[in-house]
Symmetry: C2
Amino acid sequence: MSISSRFSVGIHILALLEINKDGKNTSELLASSVNTNPALIRKIMGMLKKAGLVEIHPGIAGAKLAKGLSEITFLDVYQAVNVVNENELFSVHDNPNPNCTVGRNIQESIMPIFSNAQLALETTLSKVTIEDVVMDIVHKEHENTSK
Amino acid sequence: MSISSRFSVGIHILALLEINKDGKNTSELLASSVNTNPALIRKIMGMLKKAGLVEIHPGIAGAKLAKGLSEITFLDVYQAVNVVNENELFSVHDNPNPNCTVGRNIQESIMPIFSNAQLALETTLSKVTIEDVVMDIVHKEHENTSK
DNA sequence: TTACCTGTAACTATAATAGTTACATTTCAT
DNA sequence: ATGAAATGTAACTATTATAGTTACAGGTAA
């Protein structure tokens, strides 16, 4: 099991929109950077648009961030690209046997624990923004070019 | 995406081994409580055994906990049933374009953040034990029978 | 030695991901 | 207004993981 790479691709896209903010960020250019298909990028862009993270218009080339860099958290992207439904990171087996002590209580007993773990993960994601990534990338670039 | 129910089934099994510790916990009995197939239970039991959480022997009916109740954490089970590989909860798209500033840095930039989020999740899981679940189930049972 | 159990291989059905092709629709430059 | 260039989507494929199932080899004990 693994959380879809739509998430990392979404972050890639948003970071690129900032770093290449003066360029023409078409789905083809973005696809070339991510190394995938323009149609796939457009799908993900559609999700980011729906979540209010980017501005795009049919027929008009390019996309822009719809919010400030520091206002877009990893959690926003994570939710935008729909990799995990609310409270469904962990799946719980259904229809356990109601004639068994464990069977009739396990779901209610486990679910709050799973929710907590999911919340811990999401809280961590909510503390990182696209700005952090962009700064990190710029920093890494500088490190390398100055060698 | 969703983390396999092997995890919740594993917890179910371990809790039942405790609550029914004086009974004969065959894969068939466990399967009936979980509401699935004995062969599937045996597969999961095999994983729990490999992780040192239960004692089973070929030909001999029943299984027992191999550790104290409070010594088995949710994280132990999570790792035992192999639902998520180490540092692979999030998948990162591979082969991003090395000719692009973002492409050549995104992986290194994102991966530590993902690791942190995964760590937060796993830390939460490490703080809950099978004992907690058993106590909760016993408590819930008492609540209902005393109505 | 028979009945019962565990361990496992092999198979199926279902669903999600990632990728791809194709095309309708929209916009802008000429 | 016409054509070039984008976006938006539907439809399809391949691959993989999950969950479930059947079947049977091998161990154990009454």
